[in-house]
Amino acid sequence: MSYLSLSDKDKAEMLARTGAGSIADLFCCIPEEVRLDRPLDLPAAQSELELVRTVEGLGRKNAYAGLLSFLGGGAYDHFIPTVVDYLSSRGEFVSPYTPYQPEVSQGTLQVIFEYQTLVCQLTGLDIANASLYDGSTGAAEAVLMAQRVTNRNKVLVAASLHPQYRQVVRTYIRNLGLEAVEIGFGADGRVDRDALGRALDDKTAAVIFQSPNFFGVVEDIQGLSDAAHAAKALSVAVVAEALSLGLLEAPGRLGVDIVTGEGQSLGLPPSFGGPYLGFMACKKEFLRQMPGRIAGQTVDKEGRRGFVLTLSTREQHIRRERATSNICTNQALCALRATIFMETLGKQGLREMAWQNAQKAAYAADRLSAVPGVKMRFSGPFFNEFVLDLPKPWAAVDAGLRAKGIVGGYGLEADYPGIGSAALVCVTELRTKDEIDRLARALREVVS
């Protein structure tokens, strides 16, 4: 299937206008010797029908689709109202690019402005950007930002920050003279405050932690912020489960300076890890150090309100190597989906959804930890996921559950060597009581 729009006649006439004798002539500036002298070795072109058969065939190889799953850990299975899919698929949203020309991009720009407002409301902070790639790169950008703000070169990273996020932070900071020190966790699953106290010093740019953390446990955000501030370091909170902000107090009201995180829960399907939505908000004094695009409100000559991209002197296309980030293309359509999602759920709906997550997870924790031999690993309060200690190796438990059509959780040993047979179990509003009970029954059979 070709997507060209030229007839043979068009091609011939247009070629004539260019003065080239042939299509090949158009490429005369490419040295003969490197030009490809054979057709590409790719599969033959497919019509739409063949493509559908091929690609749906690949989809059928994902056995995951048929299973009852309790996976979370940074990617969540939430309800998405159909209106989100419908509206976000309109060509006028899908097919433009960055709103460089505001007069013909007011749709996109106003959506970004609303998105920024919603992120500020969710996080309790003053300003937000238009998006970053995802939660993991958001965490890395936040660390670099803290370095710029504080001019300090050490960052304390909670071990309960998503393991993959920590790896990304490490990759980003490697060549920037920044040192990362990991801070462990206690029996409650929260950041080890003694260890944190010991590590905080006048070189510390920031304490970066996740809440709810990778174990699902809600951190003592105010306490961590106070500790960071006492050392004149920034408090950076990562929120990998953005829905939690529907119920938990806004981090900005608990002393946090920068909140960044993953917005996938807000209207994006899990989609094997992407496209997702990195969000970031901060106090207004850090505005000039914020990475990424920002939309602002202004007026035209007649005084009519309009929106533009603004403060772009922070950005790579103006500042080049001194930019606050190298990001250019961001996750705009994901931010649009999140905007529609949040506005559709609204004040009551988002809270209700968050509350149902917490209630269902609490119910599941009760049911599962009542299985003989199964225990809650951590004592701390949790949102919609929690860690279970299991009496048998996770591999065996996992296989046993799988045989019953269930993906029961995510085994932690690869990411936390020495943690033993422990698994992270996530329960969203989409899991019914029946499904939770089914998991409990299955687990009982598998571990007995």
């Binding site: 559908v52 309109r90 690019y97 809600v218 992407g274 035209d300 250019c328």
Partner: protein, 485 residues
């Protein structure tokens, strides 16, 4: 007199108690002491309350204030605004992919892994590189990844070196990405053909230089004809060649970076392989490397054995992870679909007709607008406002006036080496009629610039808002709605 059609902010139409979505009643016993001791919010202060009718109307009306590729030519240079096939959207949204979880174990997501591996293979063939990673989330992220690979490779040789050479025509992401990798940027001046000056390069290329970042065709739409020689110069001094492949749309099936001495490159899937730009993203910026550099690719790498796929984390040389999970997977699905649809001939035709269309526009507008560099154009051409300046008309005025003609303006004021630049990239999916509409509009505007320049300076005239005060926006930033006290 005629009513201005202004769309309020959603917050301005919110009223307590309205709902656009509901959930089933909780089906487990509700705990009273839920999250005891944890500070909870009383309410989502400021969050809107509207009905589904209002949501639909709000976003329908907002969408109608956008111009988009689905409406017509979008000749935004360097951005490759080609048509995005609808079937690819449908397939990427298929629940078999969209509902699959990134932490599911390999055996449950063999289809996903095959999608990624297949696409890597296709990109290797198209780019002539030995290995690709699909982790990077966009072009700039690919640059960062690629430059980290270069640094890791040089470190493994014993010296990461200090500088990176970047032509003055380069995209801003290049220096910015190099900077995050701990390199200082040395700018290379372009010669009068708009390409890298070999003498300057030879002079700048010392053994403190880690790499050259070259965009080919460069941001003028000009092919770096000396690319092989350039690579030799860099390699001779132990440096590596990074190619910014954002402009691959000019090359597919014609020539392969890997055959021209490139060591590392990125491709913008959202450009060359037609995934929609979404008002600014998401994109995807896969990085291709030579065999020698493959050990440094980010983890995980997808390994195939006998038709089974597995994630390989055992890569001691790896630069590490650059993003959680596997990059923008959904974008990879779309790009795979695109390549499968086009086949070998179709992929070659991308370049053939992108270049034909650009040259058709160039030839049609030469004389009307100034062309600083007259070197042969590939997929785009960069005019300037030099001829219009004498009537007090700038590239901004020309751009805004194009809007009145129902068209999107070109990229403005980039590359920086062309003052008052108008960078025009039509892409291959355009029809003759749409190209001709653009050419006719540009010609009319050239005439208007002479005859009625005020019409241009006050443009656009057909939009909901006129030119917006960008200075005020930056000086007194209003970056969010706030409830009137």
């Amino acid at each position: 007199m005629i009513k201005e059609i202004r769309e309020p902010l959603i917050f301005e139409i919110s009223e307590p108690g309205k709902r656009a979505a509901e959930l089933p009643v909780l089906d487990v016993p509700a705990k009273k002491d839920l999250l005891a001791g944890v500070p909870l919010r009383r309410e989502l202060e400021g969050f809107p309350e509207v009905s589904e009718t209002e949501i639909t109307r709000h976003f329908t009306r907002l969408s109608q204030k956008n111009y988009c590729v689905d409406m017509g030519l979008y000749p935004l240079g360097s951005c490759t605004m080609k048509y995005n096939p609808k079937i690819n959207e449908r397939l990427a949204a298929h629940p078999a992919f969209a509902a699959s979880h990134p932490l599911a174990s390999d055996d449950l997501v063999q289809g996903n892994l095959e999608v990624l591996k297949k696409l890597e293979g296709f990109l290797c063939e198209i780019a002539g590189m030995d290995a690709f990673t699909l982790h990077p989330a966009a072009g700039a992220h690919g640059e960062l990844t690629g430059m980290l690979i270069i640094r890791a490779a040089l470190e493994a040789r014993g010296d990461a070196r200090k500088h990176v050479l970047i032509p003055d025509s380069a995209h801003g992401t290049n220096p910015s990405s190099a900077h995050i990798c701990g390199y200082t940027v040395r700018e290379i001046k372009s010669n009068d053909k708009g390409t890298i000056d070999l003498a300057s390069l030879e002079e700048a290329m010392t053994d403190e230089v880690a790499a050259l970042m070259v965009t080919n065709p460069n941001t003028l739409g000009v092919f770096e004809s000396d690319i092989c020689r350039i690579a030799e110069i860099v390699h001779a001094k132990g440096g590596l060649v990074y190619m910014d492949g954002a402009n691959m749309n000019a090359l597919t099936g014609i020539v392969r970076p890997g055959d021209m001495g490139v060591d590392v490159m990125h491709i913008n899937l959202h450009k060359t392989f037609s995934t929609p730009h979404g008002g600014g993203g998401p994109g995807s910026g896969p990085v291709g490397v030579t065999k020698e550099l493959a050990p440094f690719l980010p983890v995980p790498v997808i390994a195939e054995k006998g038709g089974r796929y597995a994630l390989d984390f055992d890569r001691p040389g790896s630069i590490g992870r650059v993003r959680a999970y596997f990059g923008n997977f959904g974008i990879a699905v779309r790009a795979l679909c695109y390549i499968l649809s086009l086949g070998p001939r179709g992929v070659r035709e991308i370049a053939e007709f992108a270049v034909l269309n650009a040259n058709y526009i160039r030839k049609s507008l030469e004389g009307e607008f100034h062309l600083k560099y007259t070197t042969a154009s590939m997929h785009e051409c960069v005019f300037s406002d030099k001829l219009q300046k004498e009537f007090g008309v700038t590239n901004l005025d020309i751009s805004k006036r194009l809007i009145d003609y129902g068209l999107h303006p070109p990229t403005m004021s980039f590359p920086l080496i062309v003052h008052g630049a108008l960078m025009i990239e039509p892409t291959e999916t355009e029809s003759r009629r749409d190209l001709d509409l653009f050419i006719a509009a540009m010609k009319a505007i050239a005439r208007e610039a002479r005859e009625t320049p005020d019409l241009l300076r006050s443009a656009p005239h057909v939009t909901y808002v006129g030119r917006l005060d960008e200075v005020a926006a930056a000086k007194f930033p209003v970056l969010r709605w706030e409830k009137k006290p």
